[in-house]
Symmetry: C2
Subunit: 541 residues, 2 copies
């Protein structure tokens, strides 16, 4: 079911109930750009990778979030099968009418044409996104909104708003406005007063004048005289205190928008299922919760406190027990796979399909559909791993080993990011740093290392790379053997020694602050990643 | 008429003819963000303003360009009235299939949600923009494309492509590809060979293998096995040299796209009419011609060479002769005005209206419609200024005084930017720099200056501003009079003395490179804006 601007308020209570009634929640997001994977290195430390992913996500917008709530029916007559409710949220950061200036700035977002083109090719409706997308904000922005609204109220009730300095040429005009407004307020038969169209400067004077008159029980708005004109006038309407208070609550609900759902999800502590979820999670945090911490350790603290029970289906699909039955872990291929033997392909009905044929058009890369098939992959892999069709037991050893672990793409020795545990770098005794002539291609490197079996290359630039030897037992004597070579147009250094020399150089550079600071640096400081309690983000209940 | 991906190639020759047959061309553009006017200061020098506008435009995309070609029919039977052809180009920087890697990078663009929302509210179709927008590139990118294509051809004809180093586990597979390909080439009855789906690495090996085999007369492409899969295979098709050459030409036309139109317009030297055109022109340059020069003087050279005959209807609308008959110069209001007495409201038929009702839906802020009404405003204002209904004479004094002058928004003493002439700053004897307590509002400044008549304020920050006195004859003795005041919480400095002290401080800072470099600086170095000939951009004919 699509959730957009005009049905969000009415659906919100139901969606909160669905969250509370669910056993687990699968999700997916679509955003306006994918970032620059080419900056990733196979041998990035987790800290380095976190910063790269965070920075590459920086200004992209979230266009759509799909949430799928899986539950079993408590009803005695029920068939004990899972059902789900699926929601497709369009999210667009429009300026909500009535939000005081300065609370949410008119941010600038980024997009990659290739990302827009890809989504448009999968039937994403950009007009709907822009015209009907739901607002959202971070927790800090929500606080600022509440503060601004209460400050406005205070200011209105205080008597220190002096009448504006009206230049001579506008005095007559403003005096007339005072007279009109006073008559309007005295006349109980009239509900609305439209002032004459006037310049922006005069409208500013009018607003200051009204403020200084400390009138209760009215609301003002600026209107266009016609669609084809840029002329504007101020309209004043009488309004009761109850109406005003309700309007303010509606305003808050509209402006906080989708973030209300995320906040409720966090409070519910329900298990959350994503597929290759690192980028999704990073977007969800920075748009709907709070700016991202600089350091990975702080991000882990945030994750552990707010979304401790996260699972990643791409990581589970690489379980050794699936080695021979799952060949491709891309979401759409995985979904095809789990619908075939030896998986059970248990169907799960989507109970809130709308009648307008919307779900018929559901397709890959629509967020709600991808959320649904992520949940289906999770469920079918779970059934296969525990060899039975019971309710999902999130306390089972099968699942506990995957809790809080997010798949890492393109990493030599970090298959996942564990949000709750310290992950030290391995000794990387089988990794070497290599420099070589710029003419070299990967073939030349493979050739050089051919005596040591299969390798993986992490390019740094066109004259250097890291090389990892897959079979650690073959990785001894590499330096010795290659040194013997008569060829001297390359230089090979064991990983740890290379990093140490980089760190030494960095210390040296810091001593000489005028020196330049080029190149990719791998830090290998001892990481006692105990989870510091600073910079905590709280979602109040 | 909408011009999109699938009708662009067929319309291109007609549009070029329409350019050549036109007497003048009006234009408008829509972009993904408006930049940050709040950084503009009323007292910016032109050099400062150019840099601010340029920087604020930096990453926004052009979504739509409207061009309207006004002409008179040579036909003897004709009624000697102007007619026009109107085209609405959707422009979207998609990756054109076949453009070699690295020629056009997958750039990241910016958007302001408020700009998208505004356009969507004026019926802009974002799905059409993304799915059907025409490609474009700068002149440098076009050169890079041509070079890359000819390098590809050279590489294919040379014999130094050695066979790739194939790792053992892929040898059997690659050998089979060689056998299949050789058989395919020998079999004249078969036109197409689809290889088995395989991994990205194997596809890379296949491409290297085919390259090393130096096969002429084939083209290769990578295809998805199905819409719902991420599996890919390589397809090989036989193709004649003529077909190949035609495909290459089609590729260039598709990829250079809308820039072909801009190039033809530039070569035609037709008068170009815009409304408040600075931002439009800056976008047109950087997306379709070349990156913008750092310095205003170089930008003026570029403009004078490429678009010497530009006119700005917002500037013309401020002609003193219109003082009492044009009250608002915003485009839509201006168009309403010129359709009424004392203007002649001469109708101009759009001869290429399409039958699908597209122009019925035409509305403000659709680029072609805004281009059309810009031309209509121009024509009606011209008729009024020269008091007759002849053909537009671009050599008349009436128009020559406006040629090459682009309207400047929000400037105290630069009503326009003149692309062909040096514009020195006035002495600004009626301008003062003022510092004051942060509690001050504009009312306090008006109060302070009340003895000197009307003023204009250019805020720098919350404790300083420039103040200009409109009536220069009242601007004497300001310093003396305000110094006599017993109030001492402000400081007033004549403009020139303030700038001089700023420049002195800047020189001082440069001598002490560790010093910080804060605040807004107005440079007032003597600007002998002779037009240097460096960095010229040529559009070959």
């Amino acid at each position: 079911m699509d959730v957009v601007r005009n049905n969000f308020a009415s659906l919100l209570p139901q969606i909160k109930d669905d969250i509370d009634a669910s056993d687990f929640v699968s999700f997916d997001t679509e955003f306006s750009g994918l970032g620059q994977n080419r900056h990733h290195n196979l041998f990035d430390t987790l800290e380095e990778r976190y910063k790269k992913v965070k920075d590459s996500c920086l200004n992209y917008a979230v266009l759509q979030v799909g949430l799928c709530f899986f539950y079993k029916n408590d009803d005695k007559d029920a068939d004990n099968k899972y059902r789900c409710k699926s929601y497709n949220f369009y999210t667009f950061p429009y300026k909500v009418n009535g939000v005081p200036r300065g609370v949410v700035s008119d941010k600038v977002f980024s997009f990659q044409p290739s990302a827009f083109h890809f989504l448009a090719g999968h039937s994403f409706d950009f007009n709907k996104w822009i015209k009907e997308g739901i607002s959202y904000m971070t927790l800090d922005e929500e606080s600022a909104l509440m503060e601004a609204l209460s400050e406005n109220k205070e200011a209105a009730s205080q008597s220190n708003n002096s009448a504006p300095n009206v230049p001579d040429e506008h005095k007559e005009f403003i005096n007339q406005v005072r007279v009109d407004l006073t008559e309007f307020l005295a006349d109980h038969g009239v509900e609305k007063l439209d002032l004459e169209p006037c310049s922006a400067y005069r409208r500013k004077l009018i607003y200051e004048t009204i403020k200084s008159m400390r009138v209760d029980g009215i609301k003002t708005s600026t209107c266009l005289t016609s669609e084809h004109s840029s002329e504007r006038y101020i309209s004043i309407t009488k309004i009761s205190l109850e109406e005003k208070s309700k309007e303010e609550q509606d305003l808050i609900n509209e402006a906080v928008g989708f973030s209300k759902i995320v906040q409720h999800l966090i409070r519910s502590k329900k298990p959350i299922i994503g597929h290759n979820a690192l980028i999704d999670i990073i977007h969800i945090f920075r748009h709907f919760i709070s700016p991202l911490p600089e350091e990975l350790s702080d991000f882990k603290v945030m994750m552990s406190e707010l979304i401790p029970a996260i699972f990643d289906t791409k990581l589970i699909a690489m379980d050794p027990r699936f080695r021979d039955i799952i060949s491709c872990t891309a979401l759409n291929d995985l979904y095809q796979t789990v619908q075939r033997e030896p998986f059970k392909n248990i169907p799960v009905d989507i109970v809130n399909k709308s009648n307008d044929g919307e779900m018929k058009e559901a397709s890959y890369h629509q967020a709600a559909y991808d959320a649904y098939i992520t949940g289906m992959c999770f469920l079918n892999m779970y059934y296969k791993l525990c060899q039975k069709l019971d309710s999902v037991n999130f306390h089972s050893p099968t699942l506990l080993q995957y809790q809080g672990r997010i798949n890492m793409m393109h990493s030599f020795d970090f298959p996942y990011l564990d949000i709750a545990r310290t992950q030290s770098i391995s000794d990387r005794n089988n990794v070497y740093h290599l420099t070589f002539p710029s003419e070299w291609s990967s073939s030349d490197i493979h050739q050089l290392f051919s005596p040591f079996g299969a390798i993986q290359i992490g390019w740094i630039d066109d004259t250097s790379a890291f090389v990892g030897i897959k079979d650690g037992s073959l990785a001894k004597d590499v330096e010795q053997n290659l040194k013997d070579s008569s060829d001297s147009n390359f230089k090979i250094t064991p990983y740890l020694r290379y990093i140490q020399s980089q760190n030494d150089q960095q210390v040296e550079r810091k001593r000489q602050p005028s020196g330049s600071n080029h190149g990719e640096k791998h830090s290998l400081s001892p990481r006692g990643q105990s989870l510091p309690s600073s910079k905590r983000v709280k979602v109040s209940s």
